[in-house]
């Protein structure tokens, strides 16, 4: 971070270095454009021994991996969390949104679950099916060629299934199921629920000569030092840097996009966290990829005579239609898995080897939109929390509850790997009344006005969550499994996690053909300023029950090609 004031003008400034920003950097730099990436957090490289947590043991952490300083535990790669010192956000009365941020090179791609699902044809046109929210202006056929390219560049394992709304990709082969997953397959089939190999961006086979092939440590959340999983740094940004066209500005917090008298972007101003001074970088285009809510915040904070309501906000839609996936979970004890053999290494990849895609028709149900189910369990490496409630588990099988001494060692062996967790992850209905805005009274430690959130689940999501819990029980009773804890009822919104907890927040700069009801056009270009683009989850009109990353990548690629084209033609 030696640059004080940029004299040069970049072809593009990319704000944020996660999936969307990394992909844009790769495409733009490969096309010969000069690129500045401005990232709010520090540099991160999973191959750096000083930053690596992979293959470390629980005893190397004094808290044994507890989640005191990192919300997913000491070994998780993501810096940040739902609460960050000095960077508050506020909530509208009676509403709750939990905002996860990871400030670091690569952002949340360093720790994410690698679940890489294409949206299907129906997912882009939900209004046509249920009359709720809006269709995307583009369809599967527009995005499919880019999904194909993402598959081949980054790699994803899975299986060809020919399920109409779960499009197949260029898949690497799937890993074989683990023991608990074989139990789940049996149970799901008996219950009439679809179950197929999962689809994760992890290399089960050689994809290129730069990245390794998975050695099955189950630690993708720690970011992989042999580059066998996808993260933005190793897969996109470091390769893009080989062009010599990419400059990285880390620990730099973008405050606003600056514009000229025509209302077009001239660059960005940012605060350097190290000297707390403000800088200005110049560019021909600005690509926002700071995450859906951060990009909305930057736009709303970028007020000028030309853009008095905030940049791109003549429609008053920036921040609106914020939506996260629905999510709820349950755990089951499988008596047939008690006292199982622990004679082999069952780590596998970092995540599920099998999952259940949406298999029902909403026309027969009392809620719109579907969900998929994710499975967890097996012989996990112990960490903080191992053994909690262990002696009490005996109540489910008629054993002695509690105790001490050698009995506990027997309990530990008996219950080890005998539980299966199941998580429902569903599509919520985007609502204009769920939104973020600038809180005019509160600033963060950099002096930048913060976001205020307004978000409430509706009965659509509650009924969906209720259905998830009924399904969980129907599936697991087929193998005689015992549900743990209480089934959440209406008082607890049927176990729905708070909005924001699934960390799939999208929709704040939504795409549309009508500039009065949307923020960006089909190419994720601001209606109000032609040389500004948004390539994170913000432009999502709706988000399917699919994890958003693969679609962010595909759309960012598509937009970045458009930027190259438009710059070449001098249209922007």
């Amino acid at each position: 971070m030696q640059i004080i004031e940029s004299r040069e003008e970049f072809d593009a400034i990319i704000v944020g270095s996660g999936a969307g920003g990394g992909m844009s950097a790769k495409v733009l730099a490969d096309a010969g454009l000069s690129v500045a990436i401005v990232e709010a957090g520090p540099h991160f490289d999973p191959t750096d021994p000083e930053q690596m947590t992979q293959l470390k043991w629980p005893w190397e952490s004094p808290r044994r991996g507890a989640s005191t300083t990192r919300p997913f535990g000491d070994f998780d790669a993501a810096y940040g969390g739902w609460e960050i010192d000095g960077e508050p956000y506020t909530q509208g009365k009676g509403t709750q949104f939990d905002w996860f941020r990871s400030h670091m090179l690569g952002g949340r791609t360093n720790h994410w679950g690698r679940i890489s699902l294409r949206f299907g044809p129906k997912d882009f046109k939900r209004r046509d099916q249920d009359g709720l929210s809006d269709n995307w202006p583009i369809g599967y056929e527009d995005v499919a060629p880019y999904y194909d390219k993402v598959d081949k560049l980054i790699g994803v394992f899975g299986s060809k299934e020919n399920i109409p709304n779960e499009p197949d990709g260029y898949f690497l082969p799937a890993p074989k199921p683990r023991l608990h997953e074989l139990y789940y397959i049996k149970a799901a089939r008996k219950a009439g629920v679809a179950v197929i190999p999962s689809r994760l961006s992890i290399l089960t086979k050689r994809l290129n000569n730069e990245r390794g092939v998975c050695f099955y440590c189950r630690q993708c959340s720690r970011s992989c030092a042999i580059k066998a999983d996808f993260s933005s740094g190793i897969s996109l940004i470091f390769p893009a840097q080989k062009s010599g066209k990419v400059q990285l500005f880390t620990n730099c917090v973008v405050r606003e996009v600056t514009t000229n008298t025509e209302g077009k972007a001239t660059g960005v101003s940012y605060i350097n966290k190290e000297d707390l001074k403000e800088y200005h970088l110049k560019s021909r285009t600005v690509v926002l990829a700071a995450s859906a809510c951060s990009s909305a915040r930057i736009l709303l904070n970028s007020k000028s005579i030309q853009h008095p309501n905030g940049l791109g906000n003549s429609s008053d839609h920036v921040g609106k239609y914020l939506h996260d996936s629905t999510g709820t979970d349950r755990a089951f004890l499988v008596p047939d898995l008690l006292n199982r053999k622990v004679t082999y290494n069952e780590d596998g990849v970092g995540g599920l080897h099998v999952y259940s895609p949406w298999w029902l028709d909403n026309k027969q149900l009392d809620f719109p939109r579907g969900y998929h189910m994710e499975i967890s369990g097996g012989l996990n490496m112990p960490a903080y929390g191992f053994g909690f409630g262990l002696a009490e588990m005996n109540k489910y099988i008629g054993g002695v509850v509690g105790g001490y001494g050698d009995k506990l060692r027997e309990d530990a062996r008996k219950f080890y790997g005998a539980m299966i967790g199941i998580s429902g992850r569903g599509e919520s209905v985007p609502m204009k009344s769920n939104y973020c805005e600038i809180d005019p009274q509160v600033v963060d430690q950099w002096g930048i006005p913060v976001l205020k959130f307004h978000y409430q689940w509706s009965d659509y999501e509650r009924k969906q969550s209720k259905h998830m819990h009924n399904t969980f029980e129907e599936i697991f009773e087929k193998i005689g499994a015992i549900p743990l804890g209480d089934k959440p009822d209406a008082d607890r919104d049927y176990g729905l996690h708070n909005p924001g907890r699934i960390i799939h927040e999208v929709g704040t700069t939504r795409m549309g053909d009508d500039p009065s009801t949307s923020v960006v056009n089909r190419y994720q270009q601001l209606h109000d300023a032609p040389n500004i683009f948004v390539v994170d989850g913000g432009p999502f009109v709706s988000q399917a029950d699919k994890n958003p990353t693969w679609t962010i990548l595909a759309l960012s690629w598509r937009t970045s090609e458009y930027i190259v084209d438009q710059l070449t033609k001098k249209n922007i």
């Binding site: 043991w57 808290r63 507890a66 005191t68 690497l172 092939v213 290494n345 530990a412």
Partner: protein
């Protein structure tokens, strides 16, 4: 091209089932191995400067008193004593872990300090001495009151909650050490080539891999062959 060498030597000792048993020895390229330069010394595990500072401050901060720690140690030893073949919670250093974690997670501190007071009050009432001064039989008679939630008397409920917490922390503290993990038998956290559940385990559980599912799964003998597809998205290599 990558320099390749057999992974056999790497696999022996780390794999109980899978590829070796089924007779295919996968080749592993250098890029698929953890580079030696990446392996930091034990205890260096990717902390940020801010995290390092906080951990140092916690380590230096005063935790439980000597007397409290002495009682915690006795409890740990009763919860997980050594066996004829393996060490117990004391040898595994569990009291130090509990001392740290109560500083790290403030929600533990008050229930443990208060719980220790409750325990001593109870011991004074029954035996006229604090827990630390009781003999083994007396210790066990106290534990028998509070270690079995379903049978415990109402008047000792605070002790039940306290003991459950101590049991949880002792189990976590123990099974997250090398000693505890070895005893549990966990085989992972090491590079390997996953090729499915071993035959004997499949048999024990009366489950199997059906051919249709297996046809979608990776052939580990071809893991280092470069992926190629036809236009119909069929994997060719």
């Amino acid at each position: 091209m990558d320099r390749r060498e057999s992974m056999k030597s790497l696999l022996i000792g780390t794999m109980a089932g899978g590829a070796l048993i089924q007779g295919c020895a996968p080749e592993v390229a250098e890029t698929s191995k953890m580079p030696k330069a990446s392996i930091a010394p034990e205890g260096v595990y990717g902390r940020t400067d801010k995290e390092k500072l906080r951990d140092q401050e916690l380590a230096n901060a005063k935790g439980f008193s000597e007397s409290e720690l002495a009682t915690i140690a006795i409890l740990c030893d009763l919860i997980l004593p050594p066996t004829a073949t393996v060490g117990g919670a004391l040898e595994a250093g569990v009291p130090d872990f509990i001392d740290f974690i109560a500083k790290d997670i403030p929600g533990h501190e008050l229930p443990i300090k208060g719980g220790l007071m409750w325990l001593n009050t109870r011991c004074n009432k029954l035996f006229g001495l604090p827990f630390e001064k009781l003999n083994d039989a007396q210790h066990k008679s106290i534990l028998d009151e509070i270690a079995y939630p379903e049978d415990a008397a109402t008047e000792v409920e605070p002790g039940v909650a306290f003991f459950s917490r101590m049991r949880n922390l002792t189990l976590t503290g123990y099974y997250t050490t090398k000693m505890g993990i070895d005893e549990l038998g966990y085989q992972g956290n090491t590079p390997n080539v996953w090729d499915g559940v071993p035959e004997d385990v499949l048999k024990d559980h009366d489950v199997d891999y059906d051919d249709m599912w297996l046809s979608k799964c990776t052939d580990q003998s071809k893991r280092e062959d470069m992926a190629e597809w036809d236009d119909q998205k069929n994997l060719l290599s």
